[in-house]
């Protein structure tokens, strides 16, 4: 990928933190969308594909795959929740 944007920082929790081995990662994305982010993460960390689902939160709200990411957004991976 030649046309990269500046890196996005992603917060990781629960099993995603264990799979990636860190509580944050930084990524470059050719296309700054939630869908592209998920695809790139799944290619880098295939074990993410074994989860029941994987959501993304942008600025503390659940985001659709179509949502655009902007620099400075707070981005988080949300694996299946299990509170309560």
């Amino acid at each position: 990928m030649t046309n990269t944007s500046a890196p996005f920082k992603i917060l990781l929790f629960g099993i995603t933190k264990e799979i990636v081995g860190s509580s944050t990662i930084q990524l470059e994305l050719s296309e700054p969308t939630v869908g592209a982010l998920k695809a790139k993460l799944r290619s880098l960390y295939p074990d993410l594909g074994t989860l029941n689902y994987l959501a993304v939160a942008v600025n503390e709200n659940y985001a659709t795959d179509q949502q655009q990411l902007r620099l400075g957004d707070e981005i988080a991976l949300i694996p299946p929740v299990s509170g309560g």
Binding site: F13, E18, N52, I78, P80, V81, G83, G84
Partner: protein, 139 residues
């Protein structure tokens, strides 16, 4: 203030929640308490470890409280969730809701805990003698 929503690293107090929601316009309070069970599918649990995306979890809990208030005539809602390592019998979550009459208190409280388990970014790891598992992560 109608809602008391907290994520705490210290033991939860049922009394704090019921005191908060007690309201002289209400005749009913329902309280749901989630506690640490000693087994899952027959496998002995040693302890649970809860992790939260705290700022977003608070926002999602707030949304649930607002949705609940829109559906039932709620006076006050307290929703406290614990994080960190929890031993058997400890309290993971307490939800208390006051309403004028009892039927609504049960319905509203059940709605809150059902929603919390669907949308609030909190994760629970079950730790067994011989391993551990993030609950609901895998099929």
């Amino acid at each position: 203030m109608l809602f008391d929503i907290q994520i705490l690293e210290t033991p939860l107090s049922v009394q704090d929640c019921t005191t908060f929601v007690t309201d002289e316009s209400c005749g009913a309070i329902d309280v749901f308490i989630g506690t640490v069970r000693n087994q899952t599918k027959g496998k002995k649990v040693e302890y649970l470890d809860f992790e939260a995306y705290k700022s977003m979890a608070i926002k999602e809990m707030q949304k649930i409280a607002e949705a609940t208030s829109a559906k039932w005539p709620v006076a006050k809602i307290a929703m406290h969730h614990r994080v960190g390592k929890l031993k058997l019998k400890e309290l993971a979550v307490v939800i208390a809701i006051s309403t004028p009459h009892r039927q609504a208190s049960f319905e509203a409280c059940k709605f809150c805990i059902d929603q919390l388990k669907e949308t609030v970014p909190i994760w629970k790891k079950e730790v067994f003698e011989d391993g551990e598992v993030w609950v609901a992560a895998h099929p």
